[in-house]
Symmetry: C2
Subunit: 202 residues, 2 copies
DNA sequence: ATAATTTTACTTACCGTTCAGTAAGGAGAA
DNA sequence: TTCTCCTTACTGAACGGTAAGTAAAATTAT
């Protein structure tokens, strides 16, 4: 059994709660309860709720930026863009709480994202800018706003996770129609990557 | 000057607040204040906060479904898909509060969306299913999950609006890099439409 | 036409609850 | 003894929602 500090335990439970309920509806007392401690114990480890949120969120963005940078170093522009998309998608698989947290931030104007995370995000964007620029220089990609490409990658993948209940409810209303079963997420990553690359190619 | 009932005024102010702050952070007292009335006056017109939210949200989804249905009747599959995407994009322009509200619902598992809205959403999805099916029958489109296509359309367009502050903050960190100015929204719609159609075509 | 009554559209005052955050103290380890 | 890591007990503010009352408009009765 791995030794896990109480501080780490608080962060893990908080991540689940922030992901499922969002920042506002997450109560520190319920987190404490699930950790088997009391609320002021959280205040012993973290200054306030916002600081706890940062402690949850920052490592995720840092890990994402790290993985993106590592995986998009080699290959031609098409290969690197493909790696960018797949790395992001697989990050969402291995960090199941990240989708909902990031989706809320996107919906929210990112008011609650600390600067440290923005810096990490800018690392990934820089990488994407580099890939796209290389691609246009090589004449394989049409010129396109990196922010648009980023949104074409990030938001559909994220919302695959967050819209599951929505899709189920919609499917109830479209009974008579034949709705193809949703493919597994790895197929979605692959499918999205192909389409985006195809859409960008000259 | 158009005659506007107080009930309509409450709905309009609520829409702004729900869009800017989200459901939880919207306080009925602040809405009342901006309408020049008191909180119980809202309760005279609406049973509770959730009912008020429905009154804000339902007409938007209905109008969207209506416009989508109208605009995607004629033409071949490519033209109809193009119309679908443009109609959705232009709806976001003429309903500036809708993006944030919908984005929050997507992030949220759509817990607070009433069934009435889901029904309207299913109308638009049915239309998209029809378009894609026609396209594959005609051999112009590859087969693809309508939900994925829907997300490729909806989420980037929505997040164009909600991520504006995020993009600005990111741009601050990438000073030294050349970040192309973000194109205007109509160009984004056009650009996204082209890419999605290109990505889907055989 | 006018008086009586009811309904509309609110207001003031308040309740109960929830929640972030704090003060003070205590048990156990070093 | 002192530091770490917590607990008990609490404060203050905000919020959703309600009870009770009221001025003015609309409706009905005389």
């Amino acid at each position: 059994m791995a030794k896990i500090s109480k501080k780490e335990l608080i962060i893990e439970q908080s991540r689940k709660s922030f992901s499922q309920l969002g920042y506002e509806l997450t109560s520190l007392e319920s987190i404490a309860k699930e950790c088997g401690i009391t609320k002021p114990a959280i205040y012993y480890h973290f200054k306030d709720k916002a600081t706890l949120y940062k402690a949850v969120v920052c490592p995720e963005f840092t890990a994402l930026a790290q993985k993106i940078e590592e995986s998009t170093q080699i290959g031609n522009a098409v290969e690197r863009l493909n790696a960018y998309i797949h790395t992001f998608g697989e990050f969402l698989i291995s960090n199941p709480d990240f989708s909902a947290i990031f989706a809320r931030e996107i919906a929210n104007g990112s008011k609650t994202i600390p600067d440290e995370c923005i810096e990490q995000l800018s690392r990934t964007i820089k990488q994407l800018i580099n890939i796209l620029h290389t691609g246009t220089s090589e004449g394989v990609f049409e010129e396109e706003s990196p922010f648009l490409v980023q949104m074409m990658i990030v938001t559909p993948l994220i919302s695959c996770h967050t819209t599951r209940p929505l899709r189920e409810r919609i499917a109830n209303f479209t009974q008579n129609e034949i709705i193809p079963l949703e493919p597994h997420f790895k197929n979605i990553i692959e499918s999205l990557s192909k389409k985006i690359i195809k859409g960008l190619q000259c």
